[in-house]
């Protein structure tokens, strides 16, 4: 699903965020991306979502060489990915339903289809019945679930999560991780950046460790 081929990223100003990273994440696998703040975790995720472009090397997503992706096609690439953020990035002037429906509205789904899928996604994250609520009235854990529902609502092949449990207590974090496991079990490829080593060391998934922009292990994640 994801392949990095000697990828380097240098930001203007000369900081090397990633150096010659080789990585392979097969379809249907699940892995954690670990490392200190500033080790390049976010940069790696950004390269996959085309929020940044590699300075050198090539990134492949689902067989597509992202270094050749035109600007016009960027939205189409992003629609294949469900993204989850530490600070949730919800729209606070819209209801839970409208937040979750956004990817479907963008993709131009029909009205009835949107209602059906949004309720299915909310059901999966345990928030059915909160459609009319505004995100501000929900707890941090619930807001993150809304973010996850939004990420999975149009059934992406890949889920990228950047510190999804960063602001949550251990119990809530475990619940969220279990949600990701459930999505992985139905075939979604999952890559989670996290520094919650305590939690992820107890889970049976590959860890990709970054230090100062360099990969510390082989980057070959076993297929399923």
């Amino acid at each position: 699903m994801i392949r990095f081929d000697h990828v380097s990223k240098r930001y203007p100003g000369g900081k090397d965020a990633l150096q010659a990273v080789n990585l392979h994440l097969p379809t249907g696998s699940m892995a954690f991306l670990t490392g200190h703040s500033g080790a390049g975790k976010s940069t790696l995720l950004k390269l996959i979502a085309l929020l940044e472009r590699a300075s050198r090397g090539q990134v492949f997503l689902d067989g597509e060489n992202l270094s050749r992706t035109s600007k016009r096609r960027v939205p189409m690439v992003r629609r294949k990915i469900g993204m989850i953020f530490q600070n949730h990035r919800l729209l606070f002037d819209r209801t839970v339903f409208d937040n979750v429906a956004l990817p479907l509205v963008i993709a131009g789904y029909r009205h009835q289809e949107i209602g059906r899928r949004v309720r299915a996604a909310l059901d999966k994250v345990g928030l059915l019945g909160h459609e009319r609520a505004f995100p501000i009235t929900l707890s941090g854990g619930e807001q993150q679930r809304v973010g996850i529902a939004r990420a999975v609502v149009n059934k992406p092949k890949l889920l990228l999560a950047d510190e999804p449990t960063g602001n949550l207590d251990p119990d809530l974090s475990r619940d969220i991780m279990q949600l990701f496991e459930q999505f992985n079990q139905v075939g979604v490829t999952v890559l989670i950046a996290s520094h919650d080593l305590d939690l992820i060391s107890r889970m049976p998934y590959a860890q990709i460790h970054l230090e100062q922009g360099q990969l510390q292990n082989t980057g070959e994640v076993a297929g399923v």
Partner: protein
Amino acid sequence: MRLPRPVHNYLVRHAQVALNSLGRLYRTPFASLMTIAVLGIALALPSGLYLLTGNLQKLGAQWDGGANLSLFLHKSVSVSQAQALRKKLAQWPEIASVQLITPEQALAEFRELSGFGQALDLLDDNPLPAVLAIKPGAQYSTANAAAALTEKLRALPEVELAQLDLKWVKRFNAIVEIVQRAIWVMAALLGLAVLLIVGNTIRLEIQNRREEIEITKLIGATNRFIHRPFLYAGLWYGLFGALFGALLVELALLQLLDPVRRLAGLYRSSFSLDMLSAGELFYLLAGGAFLGLLGAWIAVGRHLSAIEPR
């Protein structure tokens, strides 16, 4: 007729975005009304003046003696010949009315008005020629048409001298023309103001919704999807601004209607002010909507591409 599904979906989506943009204006009524009022005033000024000059031109065309032609006939032409000529000329499509002033009438009038009565008594015979006073039809009262008509009349064998009193028509037309040109300049400037006002309003709107724009880009929104609500907002601003402008113009004209009618009555004229016609209203609304859309388009092009998610 049933539309193909993709076309139908596309139209439904546009209708939704249009309504959403409208709802957004409605949710901030005070700010929206302020913008619309400013746009309305900017659009009302040139349209109102345009209507006024239109009315002035109508007035000029109606004005009795807008262009007066005097034909001085040869002394050899008899009164009955002059009568015949008058009848003939009255048939011309260019001519609204012809009045014959015989030498006797002319003399009597001259005697009365000039105060030379006794001096005239000394003359053996009447030195004055017969005169045909001609009023051209409304379409022939313009400077050029009236001059052409004068040339045509001058060629008649009975005519010794054809005199066109055009001075004030020319002056009036020249003034109206200057005013009209000034209105066009003003309309261009105020149109530019409308563009800038809408552009600035949309720019602020984009800044306020920066987070939302970033998020929608993050989850795969195309630029067109993101542009659309702002373009519709511009369209609504322009349209409502124009509507408000039309309302201002009509209200202002209503204020003038009675005094103008009273003044016209004093001059025994049936002149009355023209309000906005349906066609003019349409052009005003379409122009306002177009300027709003254009202003939004410029703002969107300048400011939206600068927002990229991080």
